[in-house]
Amino acid sequence: MSHDDNKMHAPGTFVLALIFLLWFIVIYFVQWFALWDNWPIG
């Protein structure tokens, strides 16, 4: 087993992951604001 087997070289993946996270965060908070805009419920 060569020594660099474990080495990861994936800058593209990392960027994609960050894009994904950004998308996730935006959608998530949009939902909260939609809820807080709605009628008060309890």
Partner: protein, 527 residues
């Protein structure tokens, strides 16, 4: 000890040693899966065209009956039969070992087939239209519940057999050391399956007894909340089986398509373990707007307990593409950030299916799932079309597509038949992906406008006019996705029966380091 040494052939592409009796089992489970996929697909197009208001195809009783049939045949029979094939493959070929108790395995398959046929008989002949959730006091016929129980028992036995097979591989020395990652993922799926199917028994044995008149209706009426909890402990956990199996298949496809190696097996395995310890409690996210539960209970179940599993998924979300990217860069695709992706083998349905399934699952299915399982946000989602929008992204665009993608490899490598049409296979993931994406989008946006799920005619309340365009997108997408499914089914079935045979390379195969006395002197030879 019995001599199994002549029951093996070698796969020339992967070097896997395939136990021939296990291969037959994989064949029968995979073919069963595809047959039920066909039934589910016909139901899908019919109900989707009914929900498209401009078409409004079916009369009401058939609509509800066919949703029931669609849910059962797709979510349960297609997916689970395919997973059984995956379990057998993971416990035999990948470990280069024999699959023990072949007769018992056939018995389990028969149980499952009888179960599936009974359920379909109950739906189509007896007219059961209770939906796969079957919330009492909606009542199915005894055969309906019996069918589900038989099917679940067969699947439970298969899970036990998986553990047994792994044990035999170790004990007889076929396999030594750490389990390969794919098999490890399937092991996780099988462990979750045990819990899930036991919960299935807790749910469906009482309902069966009620349907034959042993348990009185008043009990069921008082236990609706309890039923919902147990049903979802079963129904949601079942989705975690699918999740674990799908992720294992993504890793497998990464290897088969571009030779990807998981960059850090420690991390990937920990991520799988998080699925086991965390997810079952997350089932409570189905009950977030139910009467009778406190906020504390809901938050505890849907936050840190479920988020441990979310972390697991987010780990896979980086380690799978990272493995692929690393492998591609080693081949010299190093330009820019994304050459490894853009220059991927896009005409290989295994690759395109994997990528599309990964994107639909992650970007849509995963995200919408977290939204809905947030305590307060659930009130904006519960039971409207956003829910089917979400799970068609997870279990259809994600799991079902990943299964189809891997089938393009299973058919030649394991079932030894050439695909009858490479050209159609090439375009199939794109067609299906596009169609199901439109279905998902149509459902999600119609749901945002409040359109309920499982509803025959939304014109009646007179307030959903604005959603017609969305439902039309869903309808057109359904036609495209249906065509995609038919292409897949056609290729799979015709290849398996009429495809050109790929000859076996037979090999005398023995445990490399037999533990038992008396077998160690046998030689491994290629014929």
């Amino acid at each position: 000890m019995k001599d199994y040494s002549h029951q093996f052939r070698t796969c020339e592409t992967t070097g896997l040693k395939i136990h021939l009796p296990a291969q037959k089992l994989i064949w029968v489970n995979a073919v069963s899966a595809v047959v039920f996929l066909l039934v589910g697909a016909v139901m899908a197009i019919l109900i989707a065209l009914t929900r498209w208001p401009a078409v409004h195809l079916l009369p009401q009783h058939l609509f509800y009956r066919f949703i029931t049939a669609h849910g059962m045949n797709m979510l349960v029979f297609w997916i689970v039969f395919f997973e059984m094939a995956g379990l057998i493959f993971g416990a035999s070929a990948v470990l280069k070992t024999r699959f023990p108790a072949i007769k018992f395995a056939w018995f389990n398959w028969i149980l499952m087939i009888i179960g599936a046929l009974l359920v379909n008989y109950a739906i189509f002949v007896q007219g059961v239209d209770v939906m796969f959730t079957a919330y009492p006091p909606l009542k199915g016929t005894p055969l309906y519940y019996l069918g589900i129980i038989l099917f679940a028992v067969g699947a439970l036995f298969y899970s036990f057999q998986f553990f047994f097979a792994v044990g035999i591989a170790k004990k007889e020395g076929w396999h030594q050391g750490t389990l390969p990652l794919f098999t490890f993922g399937m092991l996780v799926a099988a462990i979750i399956a045990v819990f899930t199917l036991l919960e299935g028994a807790v749910t469906f044995v009482p309902t069966f007894l009620w349907s034959v008149g042993i348990i009185p209706e008043s009990w069921m009426l008082d236990s609706t909340a309890l039923y919902r909890m147990h049903f979802w402990a079963f129904g949601h956990s079942a989705q975690q089986i699918n999740l674990a199996a799908m992720v294992a298949i993504w890793y497998l496809l990464g290897t088969l398509t571009v030779g990807a190696k998981p960059v850090n097996q420690k991390l990937s395995r920990i991520a799988f373990l998080l699925y086991i310890i965390a997810i079952n409690l997350g089932s409570i996210h189905h009950l977030l707007v139910d009467p009778g539960l406190t906020s504390t209970y809901k938050i505890v179940n849907t936050t840190y307990l479920a988020f441990a599993a979310v972390i697991g998924s987010l780990i896979h979300a980086i380690s799978i593409p990272a493995a692929i990217e690393t492998a591609q860069r080693k081949k010299g695709l190093t330009n820019g950030l994304f050459e490894w992706l853009t220059k991927g083998p896009w005409s290989d349905p295994g690759w395109s299916g994997m990528i599309i399934s990964f994107v639909i699952f992650g970007f849509i299915g995963g995200v919408t799932g977290i939204l809905m399982s947030t305590e307060q946000l659930n009130v904006l989602h519960h039971n409207n079309l956003r829910v089917p929008g979400h799970f068609h992204a997870t279990v259809v665009g994600g799991t079902a597509l990943a299964f189809m993608a891997v089938a393009y490899y299973i058919i030649p490598l394991v079932l030894q038949r050439k695909l009858i049409s490479k050209t159609l296979a090439k375009i199939q993931p794109y067609i299906f992906g596009l169609g199901i994406l439109m279905v998902i989008m149509g459902m999600t946006f119609a749901g945002l406008m409040g359109v309920p799920r499982r509803h025959w005619n939304i014109e009646l309340p007179g307030i959903f006019g604005g959603a017609d365009a969305m439902l039309a997108i869903m309808g057109v997408g359904a036609i495209i996705a249906f065509i995609g499914l038919l292409i897949f089914i056609g290729i799979a079935v015709l290849s398996v029966f009429f495809g050109e045979k790929i000859p076996s390379k037979m090999e005398v195969h023995n445990p490399p380091f037999p533990v038992k006395e008396g077998v160690s002197d046998r030689k491994t030879a290629t014929t």
